[in-house]
Structure formats: structure tokens, C-alpha cells
Symmetry: C2
Amino acid sequence: MSSDLPDTRTRILTATWKILESRENPARMSDIAKAVGISRQALYLHFPNRAELLVAVTRHIDEVNDIDARLAPSRAATGVARLDAYVAAWSDYIPEVQGVARALIALQDRDAEAARAWAGRLAAVRHGFEAAVQAVDDSGALRPGLAPAQAVDLLCALVSVETWTRLVQEDGWPQDVFTATMVRLARNAVCTR
Amino acid sequence: MSSDLPDTRTRILTATWKILESRENPARMSDIAKAVGISRQALYLHFPNRAELLVAVTRHIDEVNDIDARLAPSRAATGVARLDAYVAAWSDYIPEVQGVARALIALQDRDAEAARAWAGRLAAVRHGFEAAVQAVDDSGALRPGLAPAQAVDLLCALVSVETWTRLVQEDGWPQDVFTATMVRLARNAVCTR
DNA sequence: GTGTCAACTTTACACGCTGTCAAGTTGATC
DNA sequence: GATCAACTTGACAGCGTGTAAAGTTGACAC
């Protein structure tokens, strides 16, 4: 408690997080600087470019949210319940990362580093879905004729930031309705009835 | 047959269409001009800006593909079959519009006109889904507890350009597998079993 | 007190892309 | 031979990112 203010780097991360959450038009570096209360150039003292700032924000969000704790229930479950738990956990996590995610997606076209960063995040989510599908398959509940890899593809495509944006942000669905619907949909998509 | 070449406007439209289909990085105005074989400035003699060019390309694609004929089978069907037919028709149309769609989506953040244009296209698709859901509801097959508007939201979010890009473009699904999966998924999502 | 150092500010500028402007060139038509 | 539309060439403003350089400030060492 020797210092009241968190260090500048942390202030940048939280301010960027918040500004990306709130506004949909892509926050410029100058907008972020203004939000932090520093000059635009000071941003470049802490992060070499926009892409790395965004990546650092995602890591910061994971840290603050204790991503491991969020996923614990999913890892504890088995069979279809494991799929349910993972879909619910990821669905409920999307609101936290949605802002940065959209910024990274938008940057993807022009910035190779942003593309790699976002691909890395997707790979992590995919990894979770792979474990969930494995659990479903182990319990014999995987839909016949559906290869595990295909099931994972489908789940990643369905329970995505894009779907969340459409339903929650644009169509005004409450978060809990979104999560419940995704859980049902995911089960229907890859499990036997 | 007085002239062998189509007029410049048409050549711009088809060239833009093709270049957007092939490459994923956003084609610049100079890239398009080069593909047409004219100067960058000549583009601005035909279209006031990038957004209106893209919009014109979507209209051109609709014309070339005779969108009405594609939707005829869907309009002829009733009940759940109508939903199936519409989902299949839209799924099979996505590959045609996907290039321009992605360009418009990318432009959305920075260009209000592009945002409106893309919203208009989505509204047209949504209108089709509304009719399909109505048909399902009329036949008493709409999932209990699911409001028609919610069903439409869900279908729009599921059978989307974004989902297609993920599964077909990134995961390498064959188009027919995508379409079949979307038909099944859509039915599971909004119909009683 | 003076010096030093890190963090930050201010100002300026290069680059890439979009869109605008103005002055040619060309080729068909009257 | 004049005219006109379509197109070219070249130049430039605006905007956002990222780089560069010189100046300010405050803490800490000695």
C-alpha cells in the first residue's frame, strides 16, 4: 500500500479493457491514451504496437478473472455434463473478452500479429471443446456419424464471440438466456438424443 | 453484340467480386483497379466510395444469381420443410456473397454507410427466416417456450456468413456437409422433436 | 544541494490508404 | 475539324499508426 495508484501499465490495461467493452467503434490509440490520462506516445513506452497491447489486455483479463477457477467445474464433470459445463463456462466468459476479441478480429486483416494472437485464443477455447467432446464420446453419447474433430469444429463455430455479439449485443438477449440456449444447442448438435 | 467487352461498370463489379472471393486480406481500391485494368481514379468515376462499390457488388451478385429463382422452392414449401428449404438455399448462397460480406463487415467499424448496407442485407435474410419460422409455427412444430422472434434471432446467428467462414473456409468442411449440418441444426434449434 | 535516472510530455514527421482536384489524352460521333 | 465522355496522370489533404528527438518532472543517491 505504499502507492495508491496501480502502475501505469496496469492502468493502461484496465482502461483499454473498459473502453473496448463500452464502445463498438474501434478505439484509437489516442482514445485509449486519453482514457488513461497519459499522452498517446506514453502508450508506446509500454507496448510496441496496438496488437501487442490488445494481446496483453487479453492476458490481463484472464488473470483478473481467474480463468482456471472458472473452468474447474467443467474439468470435474464427465460425459454430457462436462460438455454442458464447458459450454456454460465459455458462454459466461465471452462478455468479459468480447471487447478485445472484436478489436483483435478487426485488426486481423491488416496485422499478422493480431491474427496469430486471436488464433491462439481460439486454439485455447478449441482445446476445451476437444476435452468436452472426448468426455461425451467416452460416455457413448456422441452423435453417430459425427467425427470428434467435426463436433469440435461445430461447437467452436456455434458458441463463439460472433454468435454472442449477434444475440446479446444486437438482439438484446439476456446473458442467462444466451448461455442456456447455447448449452441446449450444443448438446443437440453433437449428442445422441 | 456490337461490343465485345462488357461496359466498365460491369467489369468493375465482376472484378471486385472475384478479387474479394479469392483473397482474404482486404482488397484496396488500387488492387481492384489493377484487376480491372483501369486507373484507381477511374473507380471513383463510377462509384463515389468503397462502401457504395461494395453495395453495388452485392446487388450485382444477386442479379447474376437470380436470387428469386433460388428462393422459389422455399416459398413453395410449408411447415418444417419450408425451414429446411430456406436454410439450404441461404447456406448454398453464402459462398457467393461471402467475399463482399466479409469486406462490408470489416468496413462496418469505420464506415457508417457500410454498416447500414450490411444491416440491410441481414434484414433481407432475416425476413426469409421470419417467413420460415411462421410456417413452422403454423404447423404447430415450433419449439414450446420459444418465441418466434427469438427463433428468428437464433437462426440468423447460426446460419451466418461468420459460421460459414469458420467451418468451410477455416476448418475445410465441404459445402454440402455445411449445408446438411445447418439444416439439421436449424431444425433441432427451433422445432419440437 | 547537486547530479542522475526513469517516466512522461510535446512536437514533428514518415507511411499507407482513402477520397478529391485539376489538367491532360484519346477516340467516337456529329 | 469540333466536341464530348471516358479515362489517365500527378498532386494533395485527411486520418490513424508508429518513430524520433528534445524537454520536463520528481524521486532518490551521495
